[in-house]
Amino acid sequence: MKKTDLFVIASIIVFILSLAYITALGGLGPLPPINVRRIAINYLNLTYNMFTPYLTVFALESVTSIVWDFRGLDTLYETAVFYAAIIASIALYRGVYIDFKKNIEKMGLSPIAKTVTRISLILIPTVAASVALHGHLTPGGGFQAGSIATVVIVLSIIIFSRYFLPIHGLSKNKALLFRSIGLLGIAVTSIALLLIAIVLGVNAYIFQNQAKIDAPLSFPSLVDNYILGGSLLFFNLFEFIAVAFGFTIVFLLLSISEEKVKKVTIDG
């Protein structure tokens, strides 16, 4: 780090601090009110209120309560963005196959790191599953849990080698299959109420899990005094599967050696 760098950094910090001071004094326009607004009070009252069972959403977390009825759409858009990225990477690597090598003892990092990684191969998915299944009670949810579970995938690719996952039965096509199961689960969960409503002959909304005035069906929020959170549990579980295996595909493809990819892409 040179002296000019220090000077530039100091001037940037002074600029930001003075800008913050001017903003705090109200120099750049009116300040928002400090006290809690009415809509926030509404959300906080209706988050988990046992005394008004017709209005509460039975979610302990206020973020969940805000997206409660629209969690299906939230999940849909999250998966849609991710879906495009994964399809693009699969299309880019078409024709490139991961070769199969049995002897991987000498590859990868040191034996100490391998031993410890074998322990954490069980530990980390457990943490991820607990984040996914508690998503309606504590912070977390499908995407978060899926990205925690991806640690295991990346670590096993980097520490053992790129052949470790295919040897133990998780090839690219199998990951694609599991990911499709996750997507199918999200789709089925979002139209489940509609299917039941067609059978019963009443109205229903897709992607939503609360009963409306003209649509009497809703997912169960309490089962045997245990807070289930309606469709949130299913959305979290299936999105966990979809995100974890989607990242698996991306990293399996990225770890293929460059010469091989060049051979396929240039020679056709």
Binding site: L109, S110, A113, V116, S120
Partner: protein
């Protein structure tokens, strides 16, 4: 009735030990001359400064009745974090040190003997011969 207070006091003692280790490790990290010497400070910082206070925080949470039912969640998650840290942190610094030595990024400066370097040189000599 006194069990809560005893648990909380033990937890506070552990957190205090953790803070001391943390300060010592950070001063060492700043003052030590090169990477291999700084590894010692990092060990103090991760095991003494993270594992011990996390166990202490779990004990404090078990005794803290004002936190409600979720204090058991806090205690359990702290213990899981502590286990993860004591398993993973030593491996992290081991792998980093091994890679640094193999790639010769940092010179092993104040040294009496370096068996690893001699072994690597001997191996390379065998391969060349």
């Amino acid at each position: 009735m006194y069990i809560n207070e005893i648990v909380v006091y033990i937890g506070e003692i552990l957190v205090a030990i953790g803070v001391f280790c943390d300060l010592a490790a950070s001063i060492g990290m700043l003052r030590f001359p090169n990477f291999y010497v700084r590894l010692h400070a990092a060990t103090v910082g991760t095991i003494g400064g993270a594992f011990v206070p996390l166990i202490g925080i779990a004990l404090i949470a078990l005794g803290a009745e004002w936190l409600g039912t979720y204090r058991f969640f806090l205690a359990g998650a702290s213990i899981i974090t502590a286990i993860i840290i004591i398993i993973l942190a030593p491996v992290g610094s081991h792998v980093l040190a091994r890679a640094t030595h193999r790639a010769r990024l940092v010179k092993v400066e104040p040294k009496v003997v370096d068996h690893l370097e001699e072994d690597i040189k001997k191996k390379e000599g065998d391969e060349n011969a």
